[in-house]
């Protein structure tokens, strides 16, 4: 498909496009799936497709296909869709060719060479890890590897080809004796360096420790959120508010807050498209703007929204390299890269006299994405007493507001995890409201 890019661009121009852009992605993945302690199935997927953006008088049309024989049709449609629309005076232009940074840790040749037998071996190790803890079953899980390559080409001279690899392992477990309790664990990486046995063992140990939970009284207390719990809430509440598109459409609580203190002074949040080995790392974003490192919160002060090329043009500023796509089927919109949450680390549980430790939450996607209010069910939660994890908690609802939380962070662990693109340690937040 890649060989058709140039022709597609030329056709769009011939049909009347002022500017045109082609995005082609290719993905090859192999995975093995677990069901009840056995490796049940193998999957091999090759997917590729082309998305075409045509611009006429600032009006954008977009069309896509996975079928080489329909490329001419989609070029036609993208141009005719652009003609249907009124001109957008706020459109500036597609990104121009630029100097691109080098990135590292995004391609592991061991992954692109991996076969199904290796995948099955690693999946088996994950099950072994889970079953190394007695009285636990793995209910489901998966180990997968992927290789991807994409091309971005436009009429302003951008022509980028980037490739990378990825690997992920996850497992769900349930106790088989006594009180029913579940847990999960997962790791994702760009290199073949995840500890598959450890993923299984840690999920099982958590499920066992969560058995026979106690009930607790509603109160306000210290809550330590594991990276899984924090990132789940963070992605559904904070991330939408730093999106320049939401800000421009008056759907962000951070409107007009640039330069203001919005968090405790020890907190830094950085959007980093260049992070070594980051899940969202590549030389450019998905419309061809060079990747960069953008401080979002520096010492508690709100520094910047995230921009793609279009929203940057509207605000007379530069794209922060955040023009992202869900796949070739969609045109770019603002999306975070690796969002790194930094806070000085300590032995955070040992420093906590009283509180609650929460591993994961369910229902974070029901949060109010603008106000940042949320109410979630905490899973695999424990009381903390005199600096130690004490007893499991049966059922717990956690409510709060992300912007209030940012001012109440009082500690962090040294257990930084890459939860997808969110890179974060366990964080302690004071005076959180819990209902048992």
């Amino acid at each position: 498909m890649f060989e058709h890019a140039q022709k597609a661009i030329e056709l769009a121009e011939k049909l009347g496009a002022d500017e045109a852009e082609v995005y082609i992605s290719y993905n090859h993945s192999i995975s093995a799936d677990i069901r009840k302690n056995t490796i049940e199935s193998a999957k091999e997927n090759v997917s590729q497709g082309i998305g075409i953006r045509s611009i006429i008088n600032g009006a954008v049309g977009f069309a896509s296909t996975n079928n080489v024989s329909r490329i001419e049709d989609v070029v036609n449609i993208s141009v005719s869709s652009a003609k249907v629309r009124e001109s957008d005076p706020e459109w500036t232009s597609l990104p121009s060719n630029a100097k691109y940074p080098e990135v590292s840790g995004t391609y592991d040749k061991r992954i692109s060479a991996i076969g199904l037998d290796d995948c099955i071996g690693l999946t088996g190790k994950m099950i072994e890890g889970a079953l190394s803890v007695p009285d636990v079953n793995t209910t489901s899980g998966s180990f997968s590897t992927s290789y991807n390559k994409h091309l971005i080409m436009n009429t302003n001279g951008v022509e980028i080809v980037d490739e990378g690899t990825g690997v992920s392992g996850f497992v769900d477990v349930i106790t088989t004796k006594g009180d029913i309790s579940t847990a999960y664990d997962f790791e994702v990486s760009r290199s073949l360096d995840i500890d598959v046995f450890g993923i299984g063992a840690s999920a099982s140990s958590l499920a066992i420790r969560s058995q026979n939970g106690i009930s607790i009284e509603p109160k306000k207390t210290n809550v330590i959120l594991h990276p899984f719990a924090f990132s789940d809430i963070f992605e559904n509440t904070f991330e939408p508010s730093i999106d320049a598109d939401n800000m421009q459409k008056e759907r962000s609580s951070l409107i007009g807050k640039k330069g203001e203190t919005i968090a405790t002074s020890d907190l830094n949040i950085i959007d980093d498209g260049l992070l070594e080995g980051g899940i969202e790392t590549s030389i450019s974003d998905e419309e061809g703007t060079p990747s960069q490192r953008t401080p979002i919160i520096e010492k508690g002060i709100f520094k910047s929204f995230l921009y793609d090329n279009y929203t940057a043009g509207k605000d007379n500023t530069s794209s922060t390299g955040n023009g992202m796509r869900h796949s070739y089927v969609s045109s770019p919109s603002v999306g975070p890269r690796n969002l790194i949450v930094e806070y000085p680390s300590s032995d955070v549980i040992a420093d906590t006299d009283e509180g609650v430790f929460i591993n994961t939450v369910i229902g974070a996607h029901t949060a109010n994405a603008i106000s940042g209010d949320f109410s979630v069910e905490a899973r695999n939660a424990f009381t903390i007493k005199d600096g130690q994890i004490d007893k499991p908690i049966k059922s717990l609802m956690l409510s709060g507001n992300i912007f209030e939380m940012l001012n109440k962070i009082t500690g962090a662990g040294s257990d930084v995890r890459k939860v997808g693109g969110t890179v974060v340690p366990s964080l302690r937040i004071s005076e959180m409201s819990i209902v048992g």
Binding site: N67, I174, E377
Partner: protein, 443 residues
């Protein structure tokens, strides 16, 4: 070493169009053509899945799935998987589009969407967005058992959302309708009124009080009770979850698990958004009564789970070329014979929860959480003050047993359900139901 004993292929050809409006401007017009197939093969106890896109080679796809299955089975041999025998599906009563969206000029669609968005604008509403989507899909299924069947379907729908702002507070109202139909969707649903209602909800919520959490009697409206039926009960009845040991409903067939007033049904033959004539294994769709008069009556099955547990297949579904997974279609709590006023009178003091912002469930432990769009206090048998940010959580089986009244005003809502990383069109619904005790969370 075992031979490959079974294979099947789903070939899909689809065209979809979406239009996104934001604050009155066209944000995006996007068209997608896709063609490809998902093939699977079974060797002994091992499955192999592959996908091929574009002008694919059918034989190569089958060979590649077969190779994966055989390789998997030789490295990791296990008990043979048997599939429940099925007949070739008889396709009848397929919903047709009265007005094919492809015949409606794009300008007309844009104008209609603009009118819809306009109606969500009112004092207090600071921004609006609206989405229109249409898709036509042809699915062709073949299997090594000689089944060869095909259908075409058109899906059309729209969603509107309005945001209201006041003193740094933000509230959202949303409405949507999606169906297995054509452009007549806009004649059958008053889209403009729905848009107005989204705007009104957002504005109303600005003035709502924060809910105070606690354990209370509650009434759920049809939308939220439908979400409960789908999330908390429907998922736990999926036989793949039962088999893998992550369903609270395992080993409970024939047991009284709910109040005798509760009947929960999954019916893919209804012409609602979750409709299909045959599932992703070529099995003719049919109605399943999951809970009958409070007794767990049946799980939802694929051919593999139906053979393993006993039952009727027909609920295996896949997104695009992905592998089929056991899942729901149109799921609802069936009508009872109470009405809303009786519920208010019975409850006296409690909460009335309406609409849904989504939910999540842990089927293994039987725990769920979801958020209502709005809540109202019920005081002395009357609906009084409006509350916001109300969530409902608890144990599925406790809630099922705490149902004290079931209304007679069943209503379905369309949506999409995620499982195993795949999305599928579904609908769920219920009449109003009254629950004697539930954990309601507030901020």
């Amino acid at each position: 070493m075992s031979e490959v004993g079974f294979y099947d292929v789903r070939m899909i050809d689809a065209t979809s169009t979406s239009i996104v409006l934001d604050n009155g401007n066209i944000e995006e017009i996007s068209v997608n053509y896709s063609k490809g197939c998902g093939a699977r093969a079974l060797c002994g106890g091992s499955w192999g899945f592959t996908t091929a896109e574009g002008e694919f080679d059918l034989k190569a796809a089958i060979d590649s799935a077969s190779e994966l299955a055989a390789q998997m089975n030789s490295i990791s041999p296990k008990d043979e998987v048997k599939l429940k025998p099925v007949e070739k599906p008889v396709i009848k009563n397929i919903p047709t589009a009265k007005i094919d969206p492809a015949d409606v000029p794009i300008e007309e669609k844009v104008q209609l969407l603009k009118d819809i968005e306009d109606h969500a604008k009112m004092d207090g509403v600071s921004s609006t967005s609206a989405v229109y989507s249409e898709a036509s899909v042809n699915v062709h299924y073949i299997s090594s058992e000689g089944i060869d069947c095909e259908y075409s379907l058109i899906r059309t729908g729209f969603a509107i959302s309005a945001v209201a702002t006041e003193n740094g507070s933000y509230q959202v109202g949303r409405e949507s309708r999606f169906g297995v139909c054509g452009f007549e969707l806009f004649e059958e649903n008053d889209a403009l009124a729905l848009a107005r209602s989204a705007g009104e909800t957002a504005v109303e919520l600005l003035g709502a009080e924060q809910a105070k959490g606690g354990t209370l009697p509650v009434i759920l409206d049809p939308e939220l009770a439908g979400v409960f039926a789908h999330e908390a009960v429907g998922h736990a009845s999926e036989a793949d979850l039962v088999l893998e040991g992550s369903s609270i409903l395992a080993d409970r067939l024939g047991e009284q698990i709910a109040s005798p007033l509760v009947n929960i049904i999954d019916d893919p033959t209804l012409h609602e958004y979750g409709y299909y004539p045959f599932d992703s294994e070529g099995v003719m769709s049919s109605k399943t009564t999951i809970i009958k008069d409070g007794v767990l009556n049946s799980y939802l099955h694929s051919r593999e789970t139906a053979q393993a547990l006993g039952g009727t297949p027909g609920n295996s579904r896949a997104q695009g070329y992905s592998e089929p997974v056991v899942r729901m279609s149109n799921t609802y709590i069936d009508n009872g014979d109470s009405n809303f006023d009786e519920m208010l009178e019975e409850i006296g003091n409690g909460m009335y929860l309406t609409g849904s912002r989504g939910g999540q469930v842990n089927t293994g432990e039987g725990i769920f959480q979801f958020n209502a769009e709005k809540g109202y206090l019920i005081e002395n048998g009357e609906v009084t003050r409006l509350l916001r940010d109300v969530s409902l959580s608890g144990k599925t089986l406790e809630i099922l047993n705490n149902v004290t009244l079931v209304g007679n005003d069943l209503k379905m809502h369309s949506g999409r359900c995620g499982k195993g990383g795949q999305l599928a069109p579904v609908s769920d619904g219920s009449p109003h139901i009254s629950i004697s005790k539930a954990l309601v969370g507030g901020v």
